[in-house]
């Protein structure tokens, strides 16, 4: 059965949390979590690359029937433990586990620049707004530039409200 082209962001994150996987939400979904009224098709995460965590993620990906987008190739634990970005298609939509961000920072380096958003029993670790703005600005792609004004307005609002 074909995988959906639009990620079910909530279901994907709940699956990751339910599997006990340590990860940080980055990218467009991080902007959404901070309150940006935008759309994004995929979920970008940076996962912790300990053997145990990588294996948990690999097991979940197998359960979600994950393959590389456009290729009938399944991700391996070895790749998840490396330094690349995996663009995957899953039964819950596109999921992109990133071993490191484009600037080379992995889970451990990003951890001090995250915040945890709670919603009922769910605790979602997400890149903090300031770092997200810096990452988007540094990426320099048109689609990143488009969301920057919204993130800046959100940051301005949250500072103003303090």
């Amino acid at each position: 059965m074909a995988h959906p082209a639009q990620a079910d962001l909530d279901a994907l994150i709940q699956s990751l949390l339910g599997s006990g996987i340590e990860f940080i939400v980055v990218g467009g979904a991080a902007a959404v979590l901070h309150g940006a009224p935008i759309t994004t098709q995929d979920l970008d995460i940076v996962h912790r690359r300990t053997n145990e965590n990588v294996q948990k993620l690999a097991d979940l990906l197998a359960k979600l029937d994950a393959t590389f987008r456009g290729r009938d190739l399944r991700p391996s634990a070895e790749l998840l433990a490396g330094r690349g970005q995996l663009n995957l298609s899953t039964s819950l939509g596109p999921l992109d586990p990133m071993c490191v961000l484009h600037d080379g920072r992995g889970y451990e380096e990003l951890l001090p620049h995250t915040t945890v958003l709670t919603d009922g029993p769910s605790a979602i670790r997400v890149l903090d707004l300031e770092t997200l703005i810096a990452v988007k600005a540094a990426a320099g792609r048109a689609r990143d530039k488009l969301v920057l004004p919204i993130l800046l307005a959100l940051q301005g609002g949250s500072n103003r409200d303090r």
Binding site: Q6, T39, D119, A137, N159
Partner: protein, 72 residues
Amino acid sequence: MSSTSQEASATEPVLASTTRVELDPLVIQAAREVDRSLLDWALSLSPRQRLRACSNAGLALRRFTSGSSRTG
């Protein structure tokens, strides 16, 4: 941070705290012109509600752009 009072806006705390990042002046101007009503709506939702709203909007956009809606 040094700035003129004319430039004072809600975005300035960001410019002070987002260190070592060059922001395009057009991006800064656009941030000043963002309609806050939509931000206020999104912020009124819980984090999971924001995720679901995003996915639902994405699905609706996809249906719209694929031309699957009927026009009668």
